[in-house]
């Protein structure tokens, strides 16, 4: 009996480790954004502030994280470094073309802001998005 319990506990621990290690990063938008899928190029255009309007004409509001695994995973996915993006954002801001993304301290805060902001887009771990209202997943990053 004890041995069976030990095996169950070990299996549960391994399952927990496996799921927490795989924390899938997802890209989310405010539910006001018309349903469609987004490829890497389109996400790159959104985060380099080259695309500032959605297809329905509404303004894009970009949210970013200050730090974390999801941030690194997303930047790797779009093929940019933090320094590259900072330089691009500063140029767009200083030439009046666009405002830099709002940097959030936590994934929960980011998800809440995307949910509250019409035209909002951001990224977070799938766990942080699960069950949240007014946000829709538009891309899952390949592991």
């Amino acid at each position: 009996m004890k041995q069976r319990l030990r095996i169950c506990a070990l299996a549960a621990f391994l399952a927990f480790c496996a799921t927490s290690g795989q924390a899938q990063t997802v890209v989310i938008v405010n539910s006001s954004i018309p349903s469609s899928t987004f490829n890497v190029k389109e996400l790159l255009d959104l985060y380099t502030l080259n695309k500032t309007h959605w297809d329905d004409g509404s303004r894009v509001t970009v949210f970013d994280l200050k730090a974390g695994k999801a941030k690194q995973a997303f930047y790797d996915y779009i093929g940019m470094t933090e320094e590259d993006l900072q330089r691009i954002w500063l140029r767009k801001q200083f030439t009046g073309r666009a405002r830099p993304p709002h940097a959030m301290s936590s994934e929960d805060e980011l998800v809440a802001q995307v949910g509250k902001t019409i035209g909002g887009i951001g990224y977070a771990s799938e766990k942080a998005v699960r069950g949240k209202k007014n946000v829709r997943i538009i891309a899952k990053l390949k592991e």
Partner: protein
């Protein structure tokens, strides 16, 4: 002219529904500041004995300065409009002490119904090569002292308004995505060069170089519409912004009405050259980064088509070029070297070259420490003799994003 007015009215009519639907967002206030220390050693050698009995002048000076302070305001209005203002203070500005200058550099309204179409109206830096739109955004540049005509502190010395379209007032521009690149386009129109603009004369009354009869205002352009600045840029830019290149073209007039403003070195007849000289600027630029290597290069050729100058065989054409190569040793430290050169002719050939080496170190995302060494050399040929000027600068400074 009537056609232009009709077109503007139709355009305004198209915009009005969007204006009515517009909702205001909050205004962003931000800025940049660059504070410097510099040491300057100058040496002028004249090719023949001067009236004071020598052929050499040497001088050294050092100074601290708040080189530039900019306040920016930006406000999105509704889904398609945005407003941007840039207020620039230069060189320890003080109206009390009459130091430096305060000026409105940009103030425009942008209408962007799509990312591919933007219409800017108001005073703006037009798209010309790479640096013109960001020439006073010191926080974006690794330099303390900008390349030749872009150095706003010495715009008179470098005759910036000959090389660059300094301001425009209407610009249609956008970026069209195509595969892995964007095609950038811009067409603009603006006032004639600054020397035409009405200013306050010594008697306190508004005046200009053309006609004083109907001059009631300062800061406005008294020339007819065909004398305005017209230009554009066509460029290509990598989607991830690691490379951009473009060709630029402008047409406007050089104010050569006041012959006392001709370069001091010009020794020929002045009066027959007086007038409005048609001028074309041709620009080419490329910039970007490959791994840790960063590069920038520009070329500007100014071609004059001034009949009196052709008759007198006075060459007015000018050339400016520069190239910068940098290497990011770390994410924070960029070391670079640059070379720039050019040729002003105006009857007497003057060649100049500038060699620069510098470093920019990001102390934080908002503070960059900068250092720059500059060697400027100029040679002016006067037929029988050559005058040589060399100036060595060492700059140290901080660029701060506010």
């Amino acid at each position: 002219m009537r056609r232009i007015t009709c077109s503007l009215l139709i355009a305004l009519g198209l915009l009005l529904p969007d204006l009515a639907a517009a909702q205001s967002s909050e205004t962003s206030l931000f800025g940049s500041l660059q504070t410097v220390f510099f040491n300057q050693k100058s040496h002028m050698t004249f090719g023949r004995l001067q009236p004071w009995g020598g052929t050499d002048i040497r001088e050294e000076r050092s100074s601290f300065a708040v080189q530039q302070f900019d306040i920016f305001l930006q406000k999105p209005i509704g889904t398609s409009f945005s407003v941007f203002v840039d207020l620039e203070y230069q060189l320890n500005y003080s109206s009390e002490q009459q130091w430096g200058s305060l000026s409105l550099q940009e103030a425009w309204l942008n209408y962007a119904p799509l990312d591919e179409i933007n219409l800017k109206v108001g005073m703006l830096y037009p798209a010309f090569n790479n640096l013109n739109e960001i020439k006073n955004r010191l926080a974006l540049l690794p330099y303390i002292f900008r390349p030749g005509p872009y150095e706003r502190l010495l715009s008179d010395v470098f005759m910036s308004e000959n090389y660059l379209p300094e301001h425009a007032f209407v610009q249609l521009h956008g970026a069209i995505p195509h595969g892995d690149v964007f095609w950038d386009y811009a067409v603009f129109v603006g006032n004639a060069e600054a020397s035409y603009i009405s200013h306050r004369g010594s008697d306190g009354q508004p005046e200009n170089d053309l006609n004083r009869n109907f001059e009631f205002l300062t800061g406005v352009d008294p020339t007819e519409f065909n004398m305005k600045l017209f230009g554009g840029r066509l460029g290509i830019r990598a989607r991830e912004e690691s490379f951009k290149a473009g060709l630029s073209l402008t047409h406007d007039y050089d104010n050569m009405r006041d012959t006392t403003q001709f370069p001091v070195i010009y020794e020929g007849m002045r009066t027959p050259l007086a007038g409005d000289a048609p001028r074309i600027r041709i620009g080419a630029d490329c910039s970007g980064s490959i791994g840790k290597v960063r590069f920038e290069a520009e070329f500007i050729r100014v071609v004059y088509d001034h009949a009196p100058a052709t008759r007198l065989d006075v060459d007015l054409d000018q050339v400016f070029y520069y190239g910068m190569l940098g290497y990011g040793f770390t994410d924070r430290l960029l070391l670079y070297a640059s070379y720039q050169g050019g040729k002003d002719v105006f009857g007497v050939e003057a060649r100049n070259e500038t060699v620069t080496a510098g470093a920019a170190y990001s102390i934080s995302s908002d503070i960059t420490g900068k250092a720059q060494y500059i060697l400027y050399r100029n040679e002016t040929e006067h037929g029988s003799h050559v005058d040589k000027l060399s100036i060595r600068f060492v700059f140290l400074g901080f660029s701060i994003v506010l």
